[in-house]
Symmetry: C2
Subunit: 177 residues, 2 copies
Amino acid sequence: MSTQRKVILYIAMSLDGYIATPDNGLEFLSLVEEKDQDYSYKDFVNTVDTVIVGRKSYDKVLSMGLEYPHTDKDLYIITRTPRPTVGSTTFYTGDLKELVSDLKRNVGKDIYVDGGAEIANEMLSENLIDEFYISVIPILLGNGISLFNNSRPQVRLKLISTKSYNKGLVQLHYLKA
Amino acid sequence: MSTQRKVILYIAMSLDGYIATPDNGLEFLSLVEEKDQDYSYKDFVNTVDTVIVGRKSYDKVLSMGLEYPHTDKDLYIITRTPRPTVGSTTFYTGDLKELVSDLKRNVGKDIYVDGGAEIANEMLSENLIDEFYISVIPILLGNGISLFNNSRPQVRLKLISTKSYNKGLVQLHYLKA
């Protein structure tokens, strides 16, 4: 039995729905940092073999002097500026909907949407997300970059599970209904 | 031992943070309607003796031919248009911050903020909410009246509990940290 690969948004937001402060700051995530606690991230990452990420989020990681993780996977950086493919890293300038249907035509593990807000919203606007892991951080940021912008289609969800952790993070897991 | 009365926001929102559709529709709440399941609402209501609600939300209930509930409690309708007090129902045109500090100066049960978005945001902007019960409905509305507007102060929260229910509602309970 083969089931179709799913497109999964795995992301953290404040209770008021921001994934970053207005200046793209992620300091609030440190509120839930805990030794030996990865909130099942590693387990999740093992279920995917393809990662889609926006160019800005990708460059932000590099600008911190880090290597972008997931280079062992098929990596699609969504950008408006063509760049040559490097190994399994593709700089994709085409249509997101087409990318997803191409990927789904192939057999493989699931597909991880790693943000940022622009890519998440474009995927949501096109109703391309099949599964959601939303980690709610115990803070109201008051301001910032919203995970959910206006003018997306209505999507019914099925709650799969909810887990709460020591530091007050709540992980909500939904499937598109 | 007497502890100060708390101001509690008890409200439902879609996963994308809307408390109503753009036309103030609440039809999505029917997704989680279930016989004999009130999501602990009655228990909660028994812990309060005072209700604060915006004039529009109040009038919306009346326009549906219903009596506004909680007439057994001290009811403050927040409005710009003065109206005479009726029994325990006060039409309050003053400053919200003052109202809350007046109420807190008196001994009593907790204080329930029943919405709508305008009042919730004014209370949040003034950092007047001490406790939160947010019921997350399993849907992305895509558009609507946001529970959380921009330009509020940052508020750290302490997760008290999370409960998930049959129909996919998740109730998040926080205290201001």
